[in-house]
């Protein structure tokens, strides 16, 4: 049983108990609800009257249980009636659309133009108080709610393949509606039902409280509260009991609704907020190491870095080096860990993921070296966007839709530098011009949705380079773009490299053509490991790992005559092969590949490969 389903047990049990108790009212040894006992009015709890006696000396416990029957009967009755009518309207409207939709769902929605209590009040006063007028009023009131919910669900289901298939086979629409669509819209219908019962109880008790609902002497919780109000000073508990019963029952139904919702729709439970927002130290800030940076010292030196979600290693012992002015491409299929490696450098890993080992030594602007993997949130925040910045894949999602482009660039600068407004504004416009956005003064005042996809990515890049970063991490910055725009953005990156010769860059991509164009060195990643690394020209000319070779062969214009797809799929992190992770898909695999993990081999001074048979790979 899933945790979400287990959470249903509590409210479901409470509701079952309440329903059973009120249903069993005739069988229970309760006092007569109408038997008055004026001499003992307002008497406290006693053996015969567990909860005491009311203003006419009637037994409070008996009235509470019978009152619950009245309330629940009205609420459940109207919720069911409204569900049947509303579901029918919603199904018809959602399936047939057009005029039918207008006559069913839209017509029912007119009811929503009136405040609910007002409508109930109108109906009840026209028809007189009593149980049946109440049920009618509540049925009218809640029909549009069901109609809406079922309508929305029907529309979703109706577009699905199996419904289209049935239509194509000539099944009668009503049969499709009842047999196929109705079962599929049941979950939202159930959620709505528990919500409506709770809400109907609120209105029923409210009307009874006003004296417009259940007619005395029939007991009802609303009436009991009404009566208790006038005796508040003498017997406050008379007010407390029905209040507790009413609020408790409604709460149980509301809880059931909430938990049904999360049980039926797992997407609605978003994983626990955001850890980075919680002010607590993740790890002690590692002291900056001695400033002993030589001239040719690397900008970033990742050593044996691992990233895991719980026990599952997604990135395993990755070692990479980026020198100033150098562009390192991280290449691999989806799930190879290339993006996670990039995110780990900026402390932006999703909450569930953690760096579990290794280090990432970064040479700061002031010459000190610091381990990025050991920094706490605040420590890495000072570097982020200033010395190390990121360009994300989908600029449309990565830019805040309700802030102007200029403001989004400006806040990146302001996060690290105190500038006056005019200087800041000039700097923003300069940046936008620098990344090739035409008419930057005006575009600075535009919202993201007013820009084209290419311009949004340019704006994203302007944000990233706003503080002249020493290390730029670009996570598939061209993937979401049209081919022509891709080329323009790549040119922009090339231009940035020329303009800032000291900036190092990590370029995450799955596109080998892009690698050839932009990168100096390339690291090929597979299933969380770096399988080969070296200068781009050498690796492309002579790969030393079968996976690299296969990747190159699978590029349409890769220079190879044959176009070969790699058989099989990337192994799941739950079922990693024992030996070489690529062995199951490898044309060169032999017995030892499946048994032991290949050590890193060095075919040349600045190349590595993780293959036993690298010498035989052409």
């Amino acid at each position: 049983m899933s945790p979400a389903a287990r959470k249903l047990i509590l409210p479901a049990t409470i509701i079952a108990l309440i329903v059973l108790t009120v249903l069993a009212a005739p069988l229970l040894p309760l006092a007569d609800v109408r038997a008055m006992d004026i001499p003992h009015r307002f008497a406290g709890p006693s053996g015969a009257h567990w909860l005491g006696q009311d203003e006419f000396g009637r037994d409070v416990l008996a009235r509470l249980i019978w009152g619950g029957q009245a309330s629940l009967f009205i609420a459940v009755g109207s919720a069911l009636a409204a569900a049947v009518i509303g579901a029918a309207l919603g199904l018809l409207g959602g399936y047939f659309r057009g005029v039918v939709e207008l006559l069913t769902v839209r017509a029912a929605e007119i009811i929503l133009c009136l405040p609910p209590l007002l409508l109930a009040l109108l109906v009840v006063t026209i028809l007189g108080a009593g149980t049946w007028p109440l049920i009618l009023a509540l049925t009218i009131l809640y029909t549009p709610n069901y109609a809406r919910v079922v309508y929305a669900a029907t529309q979703q289901v109706r577009g699905l393949d199996f419904v289209t298939a049935q239509r194509a086979m000539g099944t009668h629409p009503l049969t499709i509606l009842v047999r196929t669509i109705l079962p599929n819209v049941m979950p939202p219908l159930l959620v709505q039902m528990s919500l409506v019962i709770a809400s109907a109880m609120v209105i029923e008790s409210g009307l009874s409280f006003l004296g417009l609902g259940v007619v005395p002497p029939t007991p009802s919780w609303g009436l009991m509260i009404r009566a208790a109000r006038s005796a508040m000073e003498v017997a406050p508990m008379l007010l407390v009991w029905p209040s507790l019963a009413l609020a408790g029952t409604i709460l149980a139904f509301n809880l059931l609704c909430d938990r049904l919702q999360s049980a039926l729709d797992p997407r609605s439970i978003t994983a626990g907020g955001a850890l980075w927002l919680r002010p607590r130290a993740r790890r002690a800030t590692a002291a900056a190491m001695a400033a002993a940076a030589a001239d040719k010292a690397p900008l970033l030196e990742i050593g044996e870095l691992s990233v895991a979600v719980r026990e599952l290693e997604l990135v395993r012992r990755v070692s990479l080096t980026v020198r100033p002015g150098e562009t390192l491409a991280l290449v691999g299929e989806s799930g190879s860990g290339k993006t996670l490696t990039g995110l780990a450098m900026t402390g932006l890993l999703p909450d569930a993921l953690h760096v579990t080992g290794g280090k990432a030594l970064y040479a700061r602007r002031d010459g000190g070296r610091i381990d990025l993997a050991a920094l706490d949130e605040d420590g890495i925040r000072r570097l982020r966007g200033d010395e190390i910045s990121m360009v994300f894949q989908d600029a449309a999602a990565a830019l805040n839709p309700v802030l102007r482009i200029g403001d989004q660039v400006a806040e990146a600068i302001r996060a690290h530098h105190a500038l006056d407004a005019a200087t800041l504004q000039n700097r923003v416009v300069d940046l936008l011009r620098h990344v090739g956005i035409p008419d930057p003064e005006r575009r600075a005042r535009a919202y993201p949705h007013e820009l084209s996809g290419g311009q949004r990515q340019r704006a994203m890049i302007a944000v990233a380079i706003a503080n002249n970063p020493r290390l730029l991490i670009a996570d598939e910055p061209t993937t979401a773009l049209d081919p022509t725009i891709q080329a323009q953005i790549l040119q922009l990156f090339a231009q940035l490299k020329r303009d800032t010769p000291e900036m190092g860059m990590i370029f995450v991509t799955h596109d080998l053509a892009v690698v050839a164009e932009i990168a100096d060195r390339v690291a090929v990643m597979y299933a969380g490991e770096v399988v080969e690394e070296g200068p781009v020209s050498e690796i492309f000319a002579r790969p030393h790992h079968p996976y690299t070779a296969a990747l190159i062969a699978s590029v349409p214009e890769g220079g190879s005559e044959r176009l070969v797809a790699i058989p099989g799929a990337v192994p799941s992190p739950h079922a990693m092969p024992q030996g070489c992770r690529f062995a199951p898909r490898c044309a060169h695999a032999e017995a030892r590949c499946g048994e032991s993990v290949p050590e890193i081999a060095r075919p040349a001074a600045d190349r590595i490969t993780r293959c036993f048979r690298w010498e035989e790979v052409a």
């Binding site: 007119i110 026209i126 978003t270 806040e411 949705h449």
Partner: protein, 319 residues
């Protein structure tokens, strides 16, 4: 943008017309003669001649469509007719009582947003933690307790037991501002508690949703401080659906404060409606229901427009 507002206004006007017509028909087609009702006292039947004379005077003998047309003409010129009961213009009563109902709703909205947004945000940040469990439980409990229960318990507690505040009643602001506000506090707080629960839950869900968005990661990548990210990127975007819900809830409350006005003896519009419905006073009922539904529809319109202003994408999508 203007096109969007114009379009939404047209829809709103149409809805108001539909509601006014439905209420008019509902009250005229149901059995029960208001003239007879007015003249009869208890079980003593009214004099048939007097009833006929009164029907003539009230225009009830004209065909329904004529009554409808003259009614609509009156509505368009701002005349809602005179009360059957005392002959006073209905508009005057509405103008007198509507602000009082507004006071309660605005007070409640202030309490609810002022506390609900921070509480909901806090619960979202601590999602699945202890603070979240406590906040979420209280929100559910507050949402599940009908206003008249809260009202009654609040009176029991603050007026009867602690004697901090008066149990109910009304004093015009111009007569005694302090007493007026003291009397307002309990009804506004009672309505505010339910609204607070709605706003808290909505804020929590909305903040949780926004926290998963890419642009929040971008904001972190810029190296912005926690507070800045929360304020500029998270809460600002999360507020859009919260405001929508607040607007809708306030619309519902315009006609939904009946119980609170009853519990606290607050002479607002809703209480007036209950007595009007009770007396079958057509002009009063139609006038009040129309006022409420116009306000309701208008408020929804305002919410949509504010949403469009907050989220520049909306007006583009619909036009």
């Amino acid at each position: 943008m203007l096109r969007y507002i114009a379009l939404r206004s047209l829809v709103a006007l149409f809805l108001v017309w539909v509601v006014v017509t439905i209420v008019f028909l509902l009250l005229h087609l149901i059995p029960g003669d208001p003239a007879e009702l007015l003249l009869s006292q208890g079980s003593i039947a009214a004099d048939p001649q007097a009833v006929a004379a009164l029907r003539e005077k009230m225009g009830l003998n004209a065909p329904l469509w004529q009554q409808y047309l003259s009614h609509m003409a009156g509505v368009l010129s701002g005349d809602l007719g005179a009360s059957f009961r005392d002959g006073a213009p209905v508009v005057d009563q509405i103008a007198l009582r509507l602000p009082r109902t507004f006071e309660v709703i605005l007070g409640a909205a202030l309490i609810a947003t002022g506390l609900g947004v921070p509480l909901g945000t806090w619960a979202a940040i601590r999602a699945d933690g202890k603070a979240d469990a406590v906040i979420s439980f209280f929100a559910s409990a507050a949402l599940s307790t009908p206003v008249f229960v809260v009202g009654s318990v609040v009176i029991l507690l603050f007026a009867q037991q602690l004697r901090w505040l008066p149990a109910g009643g009304f004093v015009p602001f111009s007569e005694d501002p302090v007493e007026h506000l003291k009397l307002l506090l309990l009804p506004a707080g009672t309505v505010g508690l339910a609204l607070l629960a709605v706003i808290t839950r909505m804020s929590r869900a909305s903040v949780l949703e926004v926290l998963q968005r890419d642009y929040v990661r971008t904001a972190r990548a810029k190296g912005l401080r926690r507070g800045t990210i929360l304020r500029r990127h998270v809460v600002r975007n999360a507020l859009i659906p919260v405001l929508t819900v607040l607007g809708l809830e306030m619309g519902t409350l315009i006609g939904g404060t009946v119980l609170v006005e009853f519990v606290f003896n607050w002479p607002g519009l809703s209480g007036y409606l209950v007595s009007a419905v009770d007396a079958r006073d057509y002009p009063e009922v139609v006038g009040i229901v129309m006022t409420i539904s116009i306000l309701f529809v208008f408020l929804n319109l305002v919410v949509d427009v504010i949403n469009a202003l907050l989220d520049p994408r909306i007006s583009l999508e619909t036009s």
